[in-house]
């Protein structure tokens, strides 16, 4: 048998190019982002859910009332990403965080550009950094950043 040749290796990409309809509730949230507005919904017990849900999680009733929140908020929990991956929103190290926007009762998951893990703190105040060209997508918010920056 001939001397063994080196084994072949290649990048293999599997991609499903889905386009997803968002419905009237998420559609309104995304449309708001395009106008730098962050909207949630009020549920039966009076709490404000952001991003909005189509149905009250406690009763299953459809939600009808939209409420604008933020744009500032507070970090309630976070995880530091030391090595961002290709599809992450930032190329430098950042935090994934749950952000409770002012007026909201739930956390919105987003990236926080805090510079270093030492700067990140639960309870820190953050503000959105908006993308210049907004299209109605969660990435219209590039990330959140410390309030004073």
């Amino acid at each position: 048998m001939a001397a063994e040749q080196s084994r072949l290796s290649a990048t293999h990409v599997l991609e499903y190019p889905y386009r997803r309809s968002v419905g009237p509730i998420m559609g309104r949230f995304l449309t708001g982002l395009r106008d730098r507005r962050i909207s949630g919904v009020r549920t039966g017990d009076g709490s404000i859910v952001v991003p909005p849900l189509e149905y009250d999680p406690a009763t299953g009733a459809p939600v009808t009332e939209f409420v604008d929140v933020g744009p500032l908020g507070v970090v309630t929990t976070w995880a530091w990403v030391t090595t961002p991956r290709a599809k992450h929103p930032l190329t430098q190290p950042f935090a994934w965080a749950l952000i409770k926007l002012d007026g909201a009762d739930t956390g919105l998951l987003h990236a926080v550009d805090a510079g270093s893990a030492d700067t990140m703190k639960t309870g820190m105040r953050v503000k959105p950094r908006w993308r210049d060209e907004r299209v109605g997508d969660i990435r219209d918010i590039v990330c959140f950043e410390p309030e004073g920056s």
């Binding site: 040749q5 080196s6 084994r7 599997l14 190019p17 907004r134």
Partner: protein, 165 residues
């Protein structure tokens, strides 16, 4: 800025999975064969079945398949499907036909595109041959075979491929 724009009703949400694929010994042999315009398989030393492309072992006998066999690009359509739904990820426009092709001397059909033939004339038992890319474009990839096309031979009998459906 955008009071006049329409509300958002849909978003693009692609699923993107990036793998690093290592071919392994048998598939590497096969792919290096492709780069030379050859179709290489392996024969099971116990049951005698020829696997194209080879996987390095016979799943029925659970033994390594270390005997290399070269087969020609001629074969028989065992079964097929007509693709009618367009997609961004397709490089040709539908309708077109893909088929399972059992190469002469092989015991395992593989999936390939059929061209140079109206899509609705492809049939079970149809005789076809591989059409290769130009020699200078040959590479260690399945894409070295552009597609299969019909050849002027009588259809193979159902008996001849019924074990391979």
């Amino acid at each position: 800025m955008s009071e006049s724009l329409k509300p958002v009703t849909a978003i693009k949400a692609p699923v993107h999975l990036e793998f690093s694929y290592t071919a392994g010994r048998a598939s590497t042999r096969f792919l290096r064969g492709m780069a030379q315009g050859k179709i290489l398989g392996q024969r099971c030393p116990e049951c005698g079945k020829v696997y194209v492309p080879p996987r390095g072992s016979c799943t029925i006998c659970a033994v390594p398949t270390d005997v290399e066999v070269e087969v020609t690009g001629k074969g028989t359509v065992t079964t097929f499907c007509i693709v009618r739904i367009p997609s961004d990820s397709l490089s040709i426009d539908p309708p077109f036909t893909c088929a399972h092709i059992l190469l002469d001397g092989a015991d395992l059909p593989f999936f390939a595109l059929i061209q140079e033939c109206p899509f609705d004339e492809v049939r079970m038992g149809m005789r076809v041959e591989a059409v290769w890319v130009p020699k200078e474009e040959l590479g260690p990839t399945f894409e070295s075979i552009k597609y299969f096309r019909p050849i002027d031979e009588p259809d193979a009998s159902f008996e001849s491929y019924k074990e391979h459906l």
